[in-house]
Point group: C2
Chain length 125, copies 2
């Protein structure tokens, strides 16, 4: 079970940042109306507002490089908590920005997952 | 509701690091047998093992300084997800270590909370 959680967590993280870096508008499909995002302290709720925020970030093409992924089952049946650390490379910037992000995934009736909780913070040195 | 979550989250964080810095053995009271901690990638389960790990860390007196606290309700009734960034000052060290940590709190029958999920990572620059 522990190992399966790790595999699911890593797969989700790879999928999420691949979409973010290559097809950001499609991230909306990972959220639902109950979903919450706190982005650098700004709170958003619902897939529509969350997706609008992510697509309005003041940079276009970017690249996430994942350093660590820690996954645990949440006590909710089938839920998974994922904690990520990594670097964000922005266009024209020489130095990557370090970030930490957490996701709480909830299983859908269709056997997939959606993001219920999402918190993103840049790590200032 | 959103504001209340913020207050509870901040209160918990203040309480947690106060105990960590001043009475580390008593942190065990915040965990239960189902609790999970991933500490720098090492997985522990149950209050006893978690408390043993925290008390065996290779430094004595330390001081946590909290920079940001982001709290959200988890979809579990009454659960709270808390994401913390901050600095850890170790004895004899000139430069603080930056860290990120997340907690998933679950309400107890007694009207308090316990830590179900806990992930800690140092932020390397």
């Amino acid at each position: 079970m522990g190992e399966q959680i790790e595999v699911v967590g890593r797969s989700f993280v790879d999928h999420y940042y691949h979409l973010f870096d290559n097809d950001r508008p499609s991230l909306g499909s990972l959220y639902q109306p109950t979903s919450m995002l706190t982005f650098e302290g700004q709170k958003l709720q619902g897939g529509e507002d969350i997706c609008a925020k992510l697509n309005a970030l003041p940079f276009g093409q970017c690249r996430h490089v994942v350093s660590t992924v820690d996954s645990q089952p949440s006590s909710l049946a089938g839920g998974i908590i994922i904690f990520v650390s990594g670097s964000l490379l922005l266009p024209g910037e020489e130095h990557p920005l370090r970030f930490s992000q957490m996701f709480h995934l909830i299983p859908t009736a269709e056997g997939s997952f959606f993001v219920q909780n999402d918190v993103f913070r840049l790590n200032y040195g």
